[in-house]
């Protein structure tokens, strides 16, 4: 390398790029990402797309193929309007957690941006997807594209057979329950999406074989109802159950098999996205840190020109910008900014710690192996634990983080902690709490169902901090639950002490059958 003339070391000059250049850049990034930083990404599949196609991809949550539903059309329309008016730029890339890792890059990007994008998505995100434990546990990168293909085919078939509107009703209902359609704790079996299609077949065959009309005529004696039986019934139904979609799919009495299958599809796809919601800060932090490192090294090695490097810095600064709370642009904490700052800070702690760092992060302070430490962190944490372990006082100070408590009983909001000795831990705990999905999503469970009587399904919302459900939405979702369940549904909101704060009910208007 060093033997070459300086000008020949440049990967590119000017903004134009071609496929050869992408290949060269990809290799050069790999040289740094894999050899120096020790990253272990999936093999990459780079797809060049247009603006139009990027908007398409936006509409289907970035996936290359998806089943059809009006809500995606709505998102497309919205994004398009925003984009055309210039309110919203488009992402430079989209990356998909699959094996091989699909990276979409836009044709409009300049050569510098393509380099940045490849480093960011092709090495940063891809490494994170492959190694982070939440993704390992919950997603099946090998099977997702096949499963989406199956899902789309199945839903299209259903539309042909039962009509678009019928299918749309099921999808609407399933989408409404999406946020409460994930298993939060891993079950015994690793999800293997490829076998889902086969299982669907098998289940149907099994059902057909076992069908015997005689069972209907077997007399059953009346049994006495007892407390024991209550418990037994709940245990049999697996209650309480927080995965509403799962419960309805398995136990709603009146659904047709194809309707259950559609619910299953929505549930499984949503489960696939579940890790992304839990690791936003880390995922972006990992990718941003990686691209920052790679671009800097490329510049140091003389592989990109000063001009390109300035272009990169300009774009990078925009990405990691954190507007203050009183800024017009403020819309929450920027996961790129926080993730990047924390990763850089960890690097600093590893190589050049202060006394404060030794006190706060003794186990990694000064260990001299920033890349190894970061790789270990990227593999074994999610946002909540990441923040609660590694948010250092220094980052808190840099961001000027402060905690505000807004109690509706009080007249004003109260500043509960700022970036000082007494506040660091409080802020860290509060922010970690903020990234805890289990806390952010309303805790709603199916607690009981009166199978012997009127089949009323009872749901319970465990109210935290006195924040009730948003009422109009709750009523609408409950209506969907009622249609799926086929009988009356009740949703109770209890506070921690068990006192009832609100009650919603819904009756099926046009139950699925």
């Amino acid at each position: 390398m060093t033997l070459l003339a300086p000008q020949s070391k440049l990967l590119f000059e000017g903004p134009d790029w071609d496929f050869d250049l992408i290949k060269r850049v990809h290799e050069a990034c790999g040289e740094i990402g894999i050899k120096e930083m020790g990253l272990d990404p999936y093999p990459n599949q780079i797809e060049v797309i247009t603006v139009e196609q990027m908007l398409d991809a936006y509409a289907s949550t970035g996936m290359p193929l998806f089943y059809r539903h009006w809500s995606f059309g709505k998102h497309f329309a919205r994004n398009e309007a925003m984009y055309r008016k210039g309110y919203q730029g488009l992402a430079y890339e989209i990356v998909i957690n699959s094996n091989p890792c699909i990276v979409y890059i836009m044709e409009e990007n300049s050569a510098t941006m393509q380099t940045l994008v490849l480093a960011h998505a092709g090495y940063g995100h891809s490494h994170f997807f492959k190694n982070n434990y939440v993704f390992k546990q919950w997603t099946d990168a090998d099977g997702i594209l096949d499963y989406l293909e199956f899902a789309r085919g199945f839903i299209a078939k259903c539309e042909d057979r039962y009509g678009q509107e019928e299918v749309e009703r099921v999808l609407d209902a399933a989408h409404a329950l999406q946020s409460h359609g994930v298993h939060r704790f891993p079950r015994k079996r690793m999800p293997d999406l490829r076998s889902e299609q086969r299982r669907e077949e098998e289940r149907r065959l099994h059902g057909e074989q076992l069908f015997n009309d005689l069972w209907r005529t077997v007399p059953v004696g009346k049994r006495k109802r007892s407390k024991d039986e209550d418990e037994r019934r709940k245990a049999l139904l697996g209650l309480p159950e927080e995965n509403l979609l799962y419960f309805l799919e398995k136990t709603a009495p009146r659904l047709a098999p194809w309707q259950r299958e559609i619910m299953r599809i929505v549930r499984l796809i949503n489960q696939y996205f579940y890790p992304q919601r839990q690791t936003k800060v880390m995922n972006e932090g990992c990718a941003t840190y990686t691209h920052h490192r790679i671009m800097n090294r490329l510049h140091e090695k003389g592989q990109i020109s000063d001009g390109s490097f300035l272009e990169f810095i300009h774009s990078h600064t925009g990405v990691v910008l954190q507007p203050s709370f009183d800024d017009r642009r403020f819309s929450g904490i920027n996961p790129y900014a926080l993730g990047f700052a924390m990763c850089c800070d960890i690097e600093r702690v590893c190589t050049n710690p202060t006394d404060e760092d030794r006190e706060w992060m003794g186990d990694i302070a000064g260990n001299g192996d920033p890349y190894g430490t970061l790789r270990d962190i990227w593999a074994n944490y999610r946002d909540e634990s990441f923040v609660s372990q590694f948010l250092s006082p220094r980052v808190i100070r840099e961001f000027g983080l402060f905690r505000v408590v807004d109690d509706e009983e009080e007249e004003e909001m109260n500043v509960a902690a700022i970036h000082d000795e007494r506040g660091y831990r409080k802020i860290r705990r509060a922010l970690s709490h903020h990234y805890d999905i289990a806390y952010r999503d309303a805790d709603i469970q199916i607690v009981d169902v009166d199978l012997a009587g009127d089949r009323k399904l009872i749901l319970q919302h465990r109210v935290l901090d006195g924040v009730l459900l948003e009422e109009t939405d709750a009523e609408k979702v409950l209506q969907h639950v009622a249609e799926l369940w086929g009988y009356d549904v009740k949703l109770l909101e209890h506070d921690e002490a068990g006192a009832q704060l609100a009650e919603h009910t819904a009756q099926p208007r046009r139950p699925f059958a």
Binding site: F19, I22, Q45, E47, V48, I49, T50, Q53, L55, D56, S60, W70, S71, F72, G73, K74, F76, A77, R78, A81, P100, E107, E168, D172, A176, Q322, P323, D326, F330, S331, G332, F399, G400, L401, F402, R403, V404, V405, D406, E408, E412, M413, N414, V415, A416, A417, I418, R422, I427, H433, D441, D465, G466, V467, L468, L469, E470, E471, D473, V477
Partner: protein, 434 residues
């Protein structure tokens, strides 16, 4: 690593989803389109564009905690002056720092998005239909279009397809083993050579017999046989008249003010849009009149001032002149829209009526009369109809004619009136005036 160039893949992957979305929100989008159109300028009347619909209809509900009430906890960046224990007054509109309230536009009252030109026009002109569009076709007066349609074994010599014919000829010659000209020539030369050189008699004899046989065979099997001949066949297709001409007639005498002209213009532009969608080619002819009529260009039509009396019949005569000159009835669908404030010289009314009823209406697909009035005129439903000169005259047009008239006072009336005039109606019921 692979690189795949997806740019050439067919776009519009979201098209099916978009259609589903539009279908779901159809009623709201249609209303939005109609409302938007009333405030638009003529130039954009047919363009797509942004509409906003109430978010309620396309809202996707999900279970989430309310943005109000209870105890909340925020961690915010950018502290400048606060210390622990400080109080901060609540922002006006709940939602704490307004951060998480609407991340995808949910929770807003309106959903804004852009419609394409086609989608816009489709919704805009939905349920409208040009009256008597099919008249000409049914009457058999359509012109005929000839189209190439394969080959046939008979036809005029001019339509012989040489390649096709030679192809058949060649396959026949090969199949029947017609001797080639070069072979015969070679044989002949060989015989001549032998004769000159005094070849063997038997051999010569044999060659001569061979030559004769081949020549005979060549004569029996012609180079081109009538069975080879193919003709390019033509098929006739009835062609609907795809051309329409639209006559815009307008009174430009002093009594027509800017407001009235604007109304008229809006009506014309709607009609033009509408015709444009139904016909391949639409001509527009502008005729303005005072006490005499003139054909003018659009700019002059709408914006130049003219003074004089009002004799409506001049415009009608002018229109007929132009039809006779340039727009033969057999080739053109003729539409006319007349706008006026209803003024006419009394003595002219009978002439107008006669000309319209006896000469113009029989050749017209449709004739619409729009009487424009002032915004501030009394306008209560059932207040009786206008009693202008022209209106009274036109009232006497028989009901079964393709003629309609309406009164328009305000911009926002234009579209409803237009819809009213061109609304799809049961077979056989003509648009009625009044």
């Amino acid at each position: 690593m692979h690189i795949i160039d997806r740019r050439l893949n067919p776009g519009g992957k979201s098209f099916a989803n978009r259609q589903r979305f539009l279908r779901r929100a159809r009623a709201q989008v249609r209303r939005a389109v109609r409302e938007a159109s009333s405030s638009r300028s003529i130039k954009d009347a047919g363009k797509g564009g942004e509409v906003s619909i109430p978010a309620g209809g396309v809202h996707e509900p999900h279970l989430h905690r309310s943005s109000q009430g209870g105890t909340r906890d925020y961690v915010l960046p950018g502290n400048k002056k606060y210390v622990e224990g400080d109080g901060i007054p609540r922002p006006q509109q709940g939602g704490g720092q307004g951060s998480r309230a609407s991340d995808s536009g949910e929770g807003e009252d309106e959903f804004r998005f852009a419609l394409t030109d086609d989608e816009y026009l489709d919704l805009y002109l939905e349920d409208l239909e040009l009256p008597d569009l099919a008249k000409r076709q049914v009457a058999g007066a359509t012109s005929v279009q000839w189209r190439q349609a394969g080959y046939s074994v008979s036809g005029p010599p001019a339509r012989i397809s040489v390649p096709r014919t030679l192809r058949h000829s060649m396959s026949r010659r090969i199949a029947l083993k017609r001797p080639k000209a070069e072979e015969i020539e070679a044989l002949r030369l060989e015989i001549e050579r032998l004769e000159r050189e005094g070849g063997h008699f038997d051999e010569l004899q044999e060659l001569r017999a061979d030559l004769e046989k081949r020549v005979m065979r060549t004569k029996r099997i012609p180079y081109i046989d009538p069975v080879d001949v193919r003709y390019r066949r033509l098929e006739s297709n009835p062609k609907p008249i795809a051309k329409a001409v639209m006559f815009c007639l307008m009174d430009v005498s002093g009594s027509m003010n800017e407001h009235m002209k604007d109304l008229a213009k809006r009506f014309y532009s709607l009609l033009y849009l509408f015709l444009n969608r139904r016909y391949e080619h639409v001509d527009v002819v502008f005729i303005r009149h005072t006490h005499e009529a003139q054909e003018v260009d659009e700019q002059t039509f709408f914006y130049s001032r003219e003074t004089g009396g009002t004799v409506v019949s001049t415009a009608l005569f002018k229109m007929m002149d132009i039809v006779r000159d340039r727009y033969p009835v057999s080739d053109w669908n003729i539409y006319a829209a007349q706008a006026s404030d209803g003024d006419n010289t009394s003595s002219d009314n009978a002439v107008v009526l006669g000309q319209l009823r006896d000469i113009i209406l029989p050749i017209c697909q449709y004739y619409a009369y729009v009487e424009v009035g002032m915004d501030d005129e009394e306008d209560h439903p059932g207040a009786g109809e206008p009693s202008t000169n022209l209106w009274r005259a036109y009232r006497r047009v028989p009901d079964d004619q393709p003629f309609a008239m309406r009164k328009v006072r305000h911009r926002r009336d234009i579209y409803p009136v237009f819809r009213d005039l061109f609304a799809r109606r049961p077979e056989g019921v003509a648009a009625e005036g009044g």
